[in-house]
Each structure stands twice: as structure tokens, then as C-alpha cells.
């Protein structure tokens, strides 16, 4: 069995009467790049802040590297975190941020930090308050990565960036993760970003986990079926239709979940879905009132 970097059981977080996370069961294996996706208010940031110990759970348990997150210095050293809107000290220069990192982290990798700075073309003498959004995100990532963490958590780090800087940022992120050999969890609205860099998906909606699996097998267990509306009604019984469009003219399309590959059939055509439509289908299903939420928690982890 692969050891889990991050493990939660019955994890629940409430803010007053609002439930941000409800009974979350997760187990994230080492070495993955995890995409945490979901609509606004799904609980993504809450889950990440719980994972790095910024906040504590209302009930349930979360363990990172087998310990309660954020309590001991040696444990803090193993987790890198880039918060939403990538905070940096506006009065400190870029170089002083590295000095801060070097002084506060025993595993600080100065060479790595300097390499990343040069790669991001950041001027060490510049005040962090004068950096653009993209540069600030790069700086925050550099500080988090040069700790040499085993787990890197990034909360929508690329959300505020224009497409070009986002591309550059994600490239740097992947280089860093590869260089560190770390596990990474990144939350994002941008499904193409997730499809590009992640190999594991966690789909959160309304505080619950709806999907949690490696992306390749996940896609293999879904299919896009195109055919006449009447024929799609006659799909095998072990196939679950997640979403279906029936245009008045032209063929109907259904996104289905199936445990084994659909047999070739002349009545319909089967193609592999892309991650985006798969996620959207599951989100639409999660948002449907009266949808069975309990059975869909971790439905994909049975192997």
C-alpha cells in the first residue's frame, strides 16, 4: 500500500452555522500532483488551510505526514503553502524574502531559491510591494519551494494571473515539484490548467468530495456516447448516465460512467471524454437537488 501524505477521516469544518466541509474522507498518496477543483465556496480553501494547520477542524481528523498539521517546527518544515492571493511583505525586497526563508527554515535550499528567482527573472533588489501579480506569485512559490517541502499546497495561486503569466507560473510550478520530488495539491477554477499539470483529481462541491481518483483511470471509466436518442435509452443497465443532451436535430450525446469499457455497438459511437466535461457533468449532478450525495462520496476509489 502506498503511504498517504494527507489523510482525513470525517473531516468537518463549520464557520458559525455555515458548513464549509462536511465529513470529508480523503487519502492522497505520495508523489501525486493533485488538482482540487470545485465551484466557489465548495470548501477548497478551507481544506487547504486545514491541511497546513492554519485552522483546526470542527470535528473529524486530518493527518499530514501522519501528524496533526502545523503544530511542530519539523512538521511545518515539510509542508510548503502558497496562500490565495499570494501574500508577501510589501516592505521587504525580493532578496529579503529569501533571507526570511533561510532564517526560518532549517531545510532551506538557497541554490534552488536563487535558481528559481533567476528563472522567473525577478530582481532581488525590488520591493515585493512593487511586483506584479505574476511576479508576486512566483516569489511566493519560490519561498514555499525552497523550504524543500515534501508536500506543496497551492491555493489558486494562478487565479489572478493573465494567461501568459499563468502559463509561465504553472511551468515553474511543475519544474519545482519535479525537482523536489514532492507531492503537490493545487486548487484551481481553471480546468485546462488542472488537466495540464495534475495526475490526480479531487472534486469538491458544497463541502463534500464527489470525485477522488487518479485522472487516467478516472477518464477510462467514463465515456462519451453519441447516437440516436432512442438508442441511448437502451444503454446497458450497469452504465450510469451523468449528463445527456438531446438536441432537436442531430444525434444525442450522453456522458456515462461505466466500470468496464462499453462494447462496440453500431447503434452508438463511444469516445473518451475530456476532463473538463467530466468534471462539469459531475458538478451539475452534485448541484441537482435531491441528488444522492452520500453514495457519490469517494465512488471512484473502489478498485
Amino acid at each position: 500500500m502506498v503511504t498517504a501524505v494527507l489523510e482525513t477521516t470525517g473531516l468537518t469544518k463549520r464557520y458559525g452555522r455555515r458548513t464549509a466541509l462536511a465529513d470529508v474522507e480523503l487519502s492522497i498518496p505520495a508523489g501525486r500532483v493533485v488538482g482540487l477543483v470545485g465551484p466557489n465556496g465548495a470548501g477548497k480553501s478551507t481544506l487547504m488551510q486545514l491541511a497546513c494547520g492554519l485552522i483546526g477542524p470542527t470535528s473529524g481528523r486530518i493527518r499530514v505526514h501522519g501528524a496533526e498539521p502545523g503544530t511542530r517546527p519539523d512538521h511545518l518544515a515539510r509542508v510548503g503553502y502558497v496562500a490565495q492571493d499570494t501574500p508577501v511583505y510589501p516592505d521587504l525586497t525580493v532578496a529579503e524574502h529569501l533571507r526570511l526563508g533561510a532564517r526560518l527554515n532549517p531545510r532551506w535550499d538557497r541554490a534552488l531559491a536563487e535558481r528559481r528567482l533567476a528563472r522567473a527573472e525577478l530582481d532581488p533588489r525590488q520591493k515585493a510591494g512593487r511586483l506584479s501579480g505574476g511576479q508576486r506569485a512566483q516569489l511566493a512559490l519560490t519561498v514555499a519551494a525552497a523550504k524543500r517541502p515534501d508536500l506543496l499546497i497551492l491555493d489558486e495561486p494562478a487565479a489572478a494571473l493573465d494567461p501568459l503569466s499563468r502559463h509561465a507560473f504553472l511551468d515553474h510550478l511543475m519544474e519545482s515539484v519535479t525537482e523536489l520530488g514532492a507531492t503537490a495539491v493545487l486548487s484551481s477554477h481553471a480546468l485546462p490548467d488542472v488537466a495540464r499539470v495534475c495526475d490526480h483529481l479531487v472534486l469538491l462541491a458544497r463541502g463534500r468530495v464527489h470525485l477522488h481518483d487518479d485522472i487516467e483511470p478516472l477518464i477510462a471509466r467514463h465515456a462519451r456516447v453519441t447516437g440516436r436518442a432512442a438508442d441511448l435509452d437502451a444503454l446497458p443497465p450497469d452504465v450510469t448516465v451523468l449528463a445527456r443532451t438531446d438536441p432537436p436535430d442531430g444525434p444525442a450525446t450522453a456522458l456515462v460512467r461505466t466500470e468496464r469499457p462499453l462494447p462496440a455497438d453500431r447503434r452508438w459511437a463511444v469516445t473518451a471524454p475530456d476532463l473538463e466535461e467530466l468534471v462539469l457533468a459531475h458538478l451539475a449532478r452534485a448541484a441537482r437537488p435531491g441528488s444522492p450525495t452520500a453514495p457519490t462520496t469517494r465512488p471512484e476509489t473502489r478498485r
Partner: protein, 329 residues
């Protein structure tokens, strides 16, 4: 962490240090002047009655001594508001707590270093200023017998030092709870003002049981009163030896009866000039009953007040640490 705290605090610290050096320079000059004048007065009146020349000496420096006393009275509040309150609130406002709390250092240690460096720095600065002020204006206060006056008490000795430690920790803790700089500054100022008003009025008189004594009202004492009411109530009594007068009765005659409604008293009040009035009244052998703290208790009171502030500081630190432990973001 010490480096980071210093780096964040650097601008305020340097401005503060420059201001402190200016103040120190002024106090040094003033102190030399005061001590020389004091020696001169003592040398000239040796063997004779020194009260007059010493009074003139005190009058000459009173305004400056009072103003400096007020400065040291508000200095802890200023430091609490401008150094304490932004210390943590600013991190929350900029979101940088999420950056620094994820370095390999626990939050408790982060708080401990921040508080020690900043509150410690402020406290040292005030200790230095209070020491210099005590030296510079000491002779003036000694002549006036006014060490126990609320402003003088709070601006000399240990009291302002302990008070600064409390004010800066209070500011930081309020910042931790309120998470915004300006409200934290306002709250610090509010709490501090209430405390500085309530302390001398309601708490300080009870550090030790006060003594009741009778004070004979001689002409010089009457002349120094700030108020003589129409029916014999008085204000601003200063007693030789400099005890802290907490409460005074109305003017009493030898038998202990109030003199406010006697004919001779009304006669003195109505028909004597300001210069003759003390003589006119004192000739009737009048006295007042006072509640007082003897001057010898000064350092005991300083120690009690400092201990009180130290206790408040410790309680505030506990509140801050508890807030960190609940980890609400």
C-alpha cells in the same frame, strides 16, 4: 525570527530612537541646569531659611518639569498605539500571517519573539527616558514635595516602565483579536486612557491603608492652597514632607468644629486682600483632618503599581496565546 521582527520594526524603531536621543539630549541639558541652580540656591541660603529661594527655584522649572511629566505619562500610550497595535494587526491586514505561519517555526514562538523584541524595545526606551527625567527634575519635585501627584507618580520611577510593557503587549494582543490596525490602535488608546484615569482615582489610594492625620494650617500652607471655598472647604493642599493627600476635611477650629459659618471666617474671606488672607485665617489656629499616604511609602507604591502592570501584562500575554491556540483564521 528576530531578524524578521527587527526588519519589520526597523522604521518605527529608528524614528523612535532619534526622538529618544533628542529627548535625552534635552533632559541632559535641563538636568545639568537644574542641578546647578539647586546647588546655587542651597549654597546661598546655607544656615538661613531656604523655603523662599527654593520655592522660587521650583517655580522657575515647574512648567518644564510638568510638561515633561505629561510627556512621559502619554509615552506608554503612544508606544502601545504605534508599535504594539500594528505589530500583529498589520500581518492580518496584508495576509502575511499565512506566509509567516507556514515557515518552520511555531506560531507561539513567532508571537514570543515579536512581543519580546518590540515590547522589550519600547520598555527599555521608556526606562531610559524615565531614569533621565527622574534625575533631571528630581530636585524640583523634591522641593515641591509633589512626587505623589498623579502625573509625577506615573511618569517617574518604575511605574512608566511597567506601564509601557503593558501598553505595547496590550496593543499587540488587541491587534491579534481585532485583526485590523486602526481599530486595534483605537481600542488600545481607549483601554489605556480608562486605565490611566481609573488607576490614580480608584485603585492607587488602596495599595496600603491610608493614614488619618491632622495638619495645622499655617500661613504658607494656606497661601499654597488652590482653593478656599466660601464655607471652608479647601483644595490643592500640599503638606510639608510630600505625603499624598487623598482627602481633606473642611477647615476646623481647635475644638474640631467646622469654621465655615463662623463670623470671623466670613470676615476674613470678605474683608482681607489675597495677601492678607492666609495670615488672617492662620491666626485662628485652624487645622484640617486629612487622609494621606506618607511620603515614605513612595517606593512601596511604585513597586505595587509596577507589579500590577506586570500582572496585567502577563494576563494579556495569556489572552494572546489562547487566541493563537484556537487558530481561527
Amino acid at each position: 525570527m528576530i531578524w524578521l521582527t527587527w526588519r519589520q520594526f526597523r522604521t518605527q524603531a529608528l524614528i523612535g530612537l532619534a526622538a529618544l536621543l533628542l529627548l535625552a539630549g534635552y533632559l541632559l541639558l535641563l538636568g545639568l541646569d537644574v542641578h546647578r541652580a539647586h546647588q546655587d540656591v542651597l549654597a546661598h541660603c546655607a544656615g538661613r531659611d531656604c523655603a523662599g529661594p527654593l520655592g522660587a527655584f521650583a517655580d522657575r522649572y515647574r512648567l518644564r518639569a510638568d510638561l515633561l511629566g505629561y510627556l512621559l505619562l502619554v509615552l506608554p500610550a503612544v508606544l502601545g498605539v504605534f508599535c504594539g497595535a500594528p505589530l500583529i494587526a498589520r500581518e492580518f491586514e496584508a495576509g502575511t500571517h499565512r506566509l509567516v505561519w507556514n515557515q518552520s517555526i511555531t506560531r507561539r514562538r513567532w508571537l514570543a519573539v515579536k512581543l519580546t523584541v518590540v515590547a522589550g524595545g519600547c520598555t527599555l526606551a521608556v526606562a531610559f527616558a524615565a531614569l533621565l527625567l527622574g534625575w533631571a527634575t528630581g530636585p524640583v519635585l523634591a522641593v515641591e514635595g509633589a512626587r505623589f501627584e498623579p502625573v509625577a507618580f506615573a511618569s517617574h520611577g518604575l511605574a512608566p516602565v511597567a506601564c509601557t510593557a503593558f501598553a505595547s503587549v496590550l496593543g499587540a494582543t488587541l491587534g491579534l483579536h481585532l485583526r485590523r490596525t486602526v481599530p486595534a490602535m483605537a481600542a488600545t488608546l481607549a483601554v489605556f486612557t480608562v486605565l490611566q484615569l481609573a488607576l490614580p482615582a480608584f485603585v492607587r489610594p488602596h495599595y496600603q491603608a491610608p493614614e488619618r492625620t491632622r495638619v495645622q494650617l499655617t500661613a504658607p500652607i494656606v497661601a499654597n492652597l488652590s482653593k478656599i471655598g466660601t464655607y471652608g472647604d479647601i483644595g490643592g493642599l500640599r503638606v510639608p514632607g510630600g505625603p499624598w493627600v487623598i482627602d481633606t476635611s473642611a477647615i476646623l477650629d481647635e475644638a474640631g468644629a467646622p469654621v465655615g459659618h463662623t463670623d470671623w471666617f466670613q470676615d476674613c474671606m470678605d474683608h482681607s486682600s489675597l495677601t492678607d488672607l492666609p495670615r488672617c485665617l492662620a491666626d485662628h489656629r485652624i487645622h484640617v483632618e486629612i487622609t494621606q499616604q506618607p511620603a515614605a511609602r513612595y517606593w512601596t507604591f511604585q513597586a505595587v503599581e509596577s507589579a500590577l502592570f506586570a500582572l496585567l501584562t502577563a494576563a494579556t500575554v495569556i489572552l494572546a496565546v489562547r487566541r493563537l491556540r484556537t487558530r481561527a483564521d
